[in-house]
């Protein structure tokens, strides 16, 4: 059970406070309700590029990291298709430094040409390092547009192509900032040896004076139901073939989300999971095989990815995975298997509470979905699941017409 208190400033910023007396470190996490899904299709990669720019100085503070390091702290951020999340950890006695820095960059960025020019290059190098100059690096650049036709999840957070990043102008940057970086769009959580009164005071002092900006209302196209199996085959200079399959699944707030999550656990959580036990170890058809979900806010993807052993064709590998999926459709998952997964989730939950930063990020994420209190109801969503529920979900989700397949072939 994670206890917290929540309040909203007059300008719309939501603030959550979680007291944890056991640590000298405080976590300051601020999440903005903007991700790659909010980008224009002709200017993708912008939310992520913007995350980099947020470290390039604000109107009153030329450098973000130096003062934080002076205070013994450090900072980082991540961007997903749904959100942009910034976090600082520092010794609790210097917490105010984080308030000072974070409020100034929400108030107004410095918008220097130098910062834009350099971060464009840095992001382009990141694009090359992680998506191009790596075996299998471009998989998500291929899979997303295969699985999504209308919804902006069809592009990756890094962007569709390097050109979009190269073309970003200062004008774009300013428009993006004032549209998305507003107090109403932010959720702040402070976790550590603090009091609610103290955080109220600091929030009012530093974030209170920031003006309310126009509320951005998100209107995204709904992905139409997929009606036929989609296949894509590519050839690349990689050492071995790889198989990828995606299935459309429910959105984060749907009850069916938990079913899909649990199905992925039955298939591939732990060494005793079905994929590892049967297809990797017993039959030895794959060198690795995983199932996982993209826990996205809008309707997401259930993903299977694997590398067939040398000598096993992609067709054969695909057929074997289909067989496993059909077993889930035909036979009930055993009570033992189900209990195993529930026990595992309980452990993960408890281990997750060891870090204040982890707790702060989760509280903000749940608050964005609707209510931070959901953090304490997650286990119930899983414990109530029955084998019958899982079978019904498997029938629905693993329909062949709901699937996109990528055969990623090694050039001979």
């Amino acid at each position: 059970m994670i206890k917290f208190e929540k309040f909203t400033l007059e300008n719309g910023l939501t603030v959550i406070v979680h007291e944890d007396k056991s640590t000298p470190i405080v976590a300051f996490n601020i999440l903005y309700d903007v991700g790659a899904r909010d980008e224009d299709e002709s200017r993708t990669g912008f939310a992520h590029l913007f995350e980099h720019l947020m470290f390039g100085g604000s109107s009153n503070i030329p450098n973000f990291d130096n003062p934080l390091q002076q205070a013994g702290g450090s900072s980082n951020a991540f961007t997903s298709n749904d959100v942009t999340n910034y976090y600082d950890t520092l010794p609790v006695q210097n917490l105010e430094t984080a308030f000072w820095l974070e409020s100034d960059r929400l108030n107004k960025l410095a918008f220097t040409d130098k910062s834009l020019e350099v971060q464009r290059s840095v992001v382009i190098e990141e694009f090359k390092q992680n998506y191009l100059n790596q075996p299998y690096g471009d998989v998500w650049l291929l899979l997303r547009p295969l699985a999504y036709k209308d919804h902006p999840y069809k592009w990756a957070t890094i962007g569709k192509e390097i050109k979009h990043i190269e073309d970003a102008t200062m004008e774009d940057v300013k428009i993006f900032f004032y549209k998305h970086y507003t107090p109403q769009n932010g959720i702040l959580c402070v976790a550590g040896n603090v009091t609610v009164e103290q955080i109220k005071e600091l929030s009012k002092k530093w974030f209170g004076p920031i003006e309310t900006r126009e509320k951005y209302v998100r209107e995204l196209p709904v992905e139409p139901k997929q009606r036929e199996l989609r296949k894509l085959e590519v050839e690349r200079d990689v050492p071995s073939d790889a198989l990828y399959m995606t299935f459309h699944m429910a959105s984060r707030m749907d009850k069916r989300f938990y079913l899909a999550d649990m199905l992925s656990d039955v298939l591939s959580r732990g060494k005793s999971s079905r994929f590892t036990k049967r297809l990797v170890l017993e039959k030895h058809l794959f060198t690795e095989l995983d199932a996982f979900i993209l826990g996205s806010s809008d309707a997401g993807l259930f993903v299977i990815s694997g590398k067939p052993k040398e000598g096993v064709s992609l067709e054969e590998a695909y057929a074997e995975v289909r067989l496993e999926l059909e077993i889930l459709q035909k036979e009930l998952v055993t009570e033992y298997e189900l209990q195993k997964i529930k026990n595992k989730m309980e452990s993960i939950n408890i281990f997750g509470e060891m870090s204040v930063l982890n707790k702060a990020i989760n509280l903000c994420s749940f608050e964005l979905l609707g209510d931070a209190q959901m953090i304490n109801q997650q286990m119930d969503n899983y414990t109530s699941i029955t084998p019958r529920d899982l079978q019904e979900e498997a029938m629905e989700i693993f329909k062949e017409e709901n699937c996109s397949v990528l055969f990623y072939k090694a050039k001979k």
Binding site: P67, Q93, Y336, I350
Partner: protein, 423 residues
């Protein structure tokens, strides 16, 4: 009107607390270090053995021995142990570095009594079946081929081989090694190395005293064996420049460094750690500020000083755009020279000091981190006074002292440089 220009006052970190473990000994002589300091109901139980890769007759053996513990044992067929460990919601994590191996169980407290006998069986009676091993080796080989395509990985391999040319540290597996390892080699290595006299148990989290008697019951019968620990010091490395071209690469991997002949825990050692932080040890470091934040040549660049039992070495590494490889190299050497020519400014030094104290505070937070901090010095023959000396050095070191160690140890002429990619 709120003053947004002046930074809030910074309060110095007065102290970082380190905690001594409880020390117990099992009847077979195996030592147990206990850190009963958590606030969450979790336990980390770690078995450490002096059985790193430097003791193996052939590459891969040490790694696969630790990896396969938990897969099959005298009383459980392949997969049964993992199934039980998974069932109780526990996690098994094992691995091997150059000096040591470890097998670690993570569990929530209420499941400990169920999972402990299973873990004991896994650890003390593994069988390393030939069939499972051959699957791992085939997978490992395929994975090796994938990794080897990455300029960063290839660069690290080449660098390590050249830096430790005539030492076990430099003997790495290649594709062929995956065909040469068999089950009897693993069994032999396990029997020789995984004994009570050659290992140490570290337990951390929230537990009560009965844990020690449970450990005695489950692990008191691990054979006594003998201590196999041995040392063969490396004190220098050869300076050379090596370039391996990779066709079609759009980035180059760069790694530069040298072996340091410095005593772990000495004043010079601490000074070098501080100097390294200035150079490439944190986000605001000179390498990051210049090569990423000013020039935009890379997504990331950093440096470190790594201390192993037989050697200590300094290195920096990065992946940069292929078209700017030479420019990036030039900047790296420019920064090395600057470190040896100029005093670090007072402002920069204060930032580094505060940053380092903050990270020390962070990295000793919580029972598992505390156990790690203790182990790090314990295995090097030090005790917790190491951290007191470290903190005192961070607080008191001067720019002049840093310049002196920079001149002594960071001579570019003595460095090994490896570039893989395209220049």
């Amino acid at each position: 009107m709120l003053d947004r220009i002046t930074a809030p006052e910074i309060k110095k970190i007065e102290k970082v607390s380190y905690i001594e473990p409880e020390v117990r000994t099992l009847s077979n002589g195996m030592k147990v270090l206990g850190f009963n300091i958590g606030s969450q109901e979790v336990i980390q139980l770690e078995f450490n053995f002096y059985s790193g890769s430097k003791y193996q007759e052939k590459s891969l053996i040490a790694g696969y021995v630790s990896k396969m513990i938990g897969e099959a044992s005298s009383n459980y067929a392949s997969g049964e142990i993992m199934d039980k460990i998974d069932y109780y919601g526990a996690f098994l994590q094992s691995g091997s570095d150059r000096d040591m191996s470890h097998v670690t169980l993570f569990t929530i407290q209420k499941q400990l009594k169920y999972v402990l006998p299973v873990f004991a069986e896994a650890l003390s009676k593994p069988t390393f079946p030939e069939r499972e091993l051959s699957i791992h080796l085939k997978n490992g080989k395929q994975n090796y081929k994938v990794e080897n395509e990455k300029v960063g990985y290839r660069c690290r391999q080449l660098f390590t081989e050249l830096l430790f040319k005539n030492h076990a540290y430099g003997k790495l597996a290649d594709e062929a090694t995956y065909d040469e390892v068999n089950s009897s080699m693993l069994i032999k290595f396990y029997k020789r190395m995984y004994s009570a006299s050659n290992g140490l148990i570290v337990v951390a989290g929230k537990f009560d005293d009965s844990l020690y008697s449970q450990l005695e019951k489950e692990f008191g019968s691990i054979p006594v064996g003998e201590n196999k620990r041995s040392f063969q010091k490396v004190v220098s490395s050869k300076a050379e420049k090596v370039y391996e071209e990779k066709l079609g690469a759009i980035q180059s991997g760069i790694r530069i460094g040298k072996v340091l002949d410095v005593q772990y825990g000495s004043d010079e050692f601490f000074k070098l750690q501080i100097l390294n932080t200035v150079f490439g040890g944190y986000f605001g470091s000179r390498l990051m500020s210049n090569i990423r934040e000013d020039k935009g040549y890379t997504y990331g660049i950093g440096s470190a000083i790594t201390s192993m039992e037989d050697a200590m070495f300094f290195f920096l590494s990065t992946e940069v755009g292929a078209d700017v490889t030479n420019e990036a190299l030039k900047e790296v050497y420019f920064e090395l020279d600057r470190l040896r020519d100029e005093l670090v400014s007072e402002e920069e030094l204060v930032m580094v000091k505060n940053y380092m104290l903050g990270s020390m505070l962070k990295s000793s937070d919580g029972p598992f981190s505390m156990a790690d901090k203790y182990k790090a010095v314990y295995f090097k023959g030090e005790d917790l006074s190491f951290y007191d000396r470290y903190i005192s050095m961070v607080n008191n070191v001067t720019s002049e002292e840093l310049l002196e160690v920079a001149k002594k140890y960071f001579d570019p002429e003595e460095m090994l440089e490896v570039v893989v990619g395209k220049k």
